[in-house]
């Protein structure tokens, strides 16, 4: 990261190679659209390059990068006033992540349920449970306290259980 901050293109390539794919999938989870996730991935990495002077030496790269991606998704949602995520056709049969048992009905229900969560709750759940960031790492980059992130995640899970009643006990 230090070499990238100093403008080393190869260091950028290494960072991109390591993080781009999972980051794009995270953005697709947040936005519900592959095309939007592509745009937001580009925006995230351009922002990373432009704002790399704000990276604190010694900090972890992954939480920082995911914070930029989360901001990009929020900004996009604000600009497009996009609330109801359409899920039709977003996940064609057989295109799910390899190695995972495929359950299209549940996946569609989960996508719809995630889309209905308030963005802060959705981000807290996805970042913590599915991207492996700690609550403290999410909090530092979101500019809020760790307990606030925990409360968001807890409320998100409660709401998710309500929305997925009958599918996820």
């Amino acid at each position: 990261m230090a070499r990238f901050v100093q403008g080393d293109a190869r260091a950028f390539d290494a960072l991109f190679g390591r993080h781009a794919s999972p980051l794009r999938r995270y953005l697709e989870r947040l936005s519900g659209s592959g095309a939007v996730a592509d745009d937001l991935t580009q925006i995230t990495f351009v922002s990373m390059v432009k704002g790399r002077g704000r990276f604190l030496q010694g900090a972890k790269v992954k939480p920082w990068l995911y914070a930029i991606a989360t901001n990009a998704a929020r900004d996009w949602r604000r600009r497009t006033k996009f609330e109801a995520v359409s899920v039709d056709g977003e996940l064609p049969e057989g295109e799910a992540e390899p190695g995972l048992e495929h359950d299209p009905g549940l996946e569609k229900a989960v996508k719809q349920a995630l889309a209905q969560l308030p963005e802060a709750q959705r981000e807290a759940i996805v970042l913590n449970r599915y991207e492996g960031l700690s609550f403290a790492e999410i909090a530092v980059n979101a500019g809020v306290t760790e307990s606030a992130v925990k409360v968001r995640a807890h409320r998100g899970y409660e709401r998710l259980r309500e929305l997925l009643k009958g599918v996820w006990p």
């Binding site: 100093q6 403008g7 293109a9 950028f12 390539d13 991109f16 781009a20 794919s21 794009r24 999938r25 697709e28 989870r29 519900g32 592959g34 996730a37 592509d38 580009q42 925006i43 995230t44 990495f45 351009v46 922002s47 990373m48 390059v49 432009k50 704002g51 790399r52 002077g53 704000r54 990276f55 604190l56 900090a59 920082w64 914070a67 930029i68 901001n71 900004d75 977003e90 996940l91 295109e95 799910a96 992540e97 390899p98 995972l100 048992e101 359950d103 549940l106 996946e107 989960v110 995630l114 449970r129 599915y130 530092v140 980059n141 979101a142 500019g143 809020v144 306290t145 997925l164 996820w168």
Partner: protein, 227 residues
């Protein structure tokens, strides 16, 4: 095949909702714009550079206003308190100008916020109680001076705050630091030593300015989405 628990089924569904992985070639295309940006600007701008810009502006405006206006001792209970409060505002103005935009945890913003509270408590605690009369008229004059001194720094702060994903706390404490220049000038100039006057016309305008800055920032487009 082992039966999955409901939690495992949910996890699998959420992971699958991320869609299919992109090919390496498709991903590489997504990096093009960032690579071009890096080639165009190989040198990063450290975050504290913007803080130095604001610091210089705050010093010019705050110290300029303090030097331009007449000084009065009537507001202060003692000359010691006059000096202590002046140093508190000076520190708040200078350290706060840089610290408000420090990336990372909330701690630095909390320090700036605490600095404003401490300076405010000292200003009120060191007040003489002297009342020259015409509280509203004089009070509005003080509020006007404070807002005028802070106007340019707060405007610049708003522009600087679009260079990252500034939260309300960034903008609010940044505006408090910018308003501290006006508070310093008033501390040396104003002859009204009543607690009500200092609270309502020296301190409250800074808080209101912070609120207005947050409101304006929420309408501005963020140019770079780094935290």
């Amino acid at each position: 095949m082992m039966t999955k628990t409901p939690d495992e089924r949910l996890d699998a569904a959420v992971l699958a909702s991320g869609g299919a992985p992109k090919s390496d070639e498709a991903l590489r295309r997504l990096a093009r714009a960032a690579r071009e940006e890096l080639a165009a600007h190989p040198k990063a701008r450290p975050w504290w550079m913007d803080g130095l810009v604001l610091l210089a502006l705050n010093l010019v405006m705050g110290l300029g206003a303090a030097a331009a206006m007449s000084w009065s001792d009537l507001q202060h209970g003692s000359m010691t308190m006059r000096s202590v409060v002046a140093v508190a505002w000076l520190l708040m103005m200078s350290v706060g100008s840089v610290l408000w935009l420090r990336p990372g945890a909330m701690t630095s913003r909390l320090v700036v916020g605490a600095g404003f509270v401490i300076a405010s408590v000292l200003a009120i605690g060191g007040a003489s109680g002297f009342d020259p009369g015409a509280p509203f008229f004089r009070g509005m004059g003080c509020a006007f001076v404070e807002c005028s001194v802070a106007l340019i720094p707060v405007s610049v702060l708003l522009v600087l705050s679009t260079r990252f994903a500034a939260t309300a706390s960034h903008v609010f404490v940044g505006a408090l630091a910018a308003a501290s220049g006006g508070a310093l000038a008033l501390h040396l100039h104003c002859s009204n030593g009543t607690i009500a006057h200092i609270a309502a016309f020296h301190l409250l305008p800074a808080v209101v300015l912070g609120g207005v800055a947050v409101l304006i920032r929420s309408k501005l487009r963020t140019r770079t989405l780094v935290p």
